[in-house]
Amino acid sequence: MIEDIAIESRGTIKLSAPDCTSCMLCVRECPVWCIEIDSHTEQVTPEGARRPRSVAVLDAFTIDWGLCMYCGICVEVCPFDALAWAPSPRGGVGEAEQLVAGIEDLSG
């Protein structure tokens, strides 16, 4: 419905979940505390490695769009570029709970 939006517009924020290492920087720097991450660590042994190493596994990543003030600090601070602006804005929802978006919603 929305045409001719500038590509750099702050419509919404998208997550690239494979790039997220659960470093928590976005969570800690968000001024309104609207991001939550849940993760755990797993031991994996890459082929040929002598010992296993610990990797973070992202279980949940949510942004509460009712709180987000579109400052972009999370996008700027992510060391792995897992967060990025997308121009088309999110639509309205009928229930306040629907404002909290999870990994699937943010990746879409």
Partner: protein, 176 residues
């Protein structure tokens, strides 16, 4: 005007006046054309145990504005009122008293303890713009940043204060 949140340096030009000279200096400025009071408020500097009371006034013959400031000690937070120089000071001084607890000698309402709150409801915290007064919602809400799953990371670095909070708000036994 740039006031860095945690730095104590105020970077724009402010004409600093002593408390004793405050009323006379601003009266003189008013006579010289700084006639339009824009804002009169305070900045809480708890580490220095002082307030900066700051005033911004504009001229009407040009687009110029100017800041004046005065240091007021917190143990004796009283300053001369400017109501006879700027009529609008009556409102601003009353607001400053409500938000910071600074009284203004000569502003009758500012001194009247029975005067109703100008802006604050009965449920609002006393002197809410003082930095030791916590933002209740921030204290009561669990910070998502505490849920760091990596035990090495959270143990090895100094615990980060959540954005928008001051460490003293979380000290046990200290409700203020």
């Amino acid at each position: 005007m740039t006031i860095a949140a945690n730095s104590v340096e105020i970077t724009q030009q402010i004409e600093w006046i002593s408390a004793e000279q405050w009323r006379d200096s601003l009266a003189s400025a008013h006579r010289q054309g700084w006639v339009c009071l824009d804002v009169l408020t305070a900045i809480d500097r708890p580490e220095q145990r002082e307030f900066h009371v700051v005033l911004h006034a504009n001229r009407v013959d040009s687009a110029l504005g100017q800041w004046w400031g005065v240091v007021v000690p917190q143990h004796d937070a009283e300053l001369a009122s400017l109501v006879d120089v700027f009529k609008a000071a009556a409102w601003h001084e009353r607001e400053t008293r409500e938000m910071f607890g600074i009284t203004f000698t000569g502003n009758v309402v500012s001194h009247d303890p029975t005067a109703q709150g100008l802006l604050l409801s009965d449920e609002a915290p006393v002197t809410p713009l003082r930095k030791h007064v916590p933002l209740g919602a921030r204290v009561d809400t669990p910070w998502p940043g505490n849920a760091d799953p990596d035990p090495r990371r959270s143990a090895s670095r100094r615990r980060q204060a959540p954005p928008g909070t001051r460490p003293e708000w979380f000290e046990t036994g200290d409700g203020q």
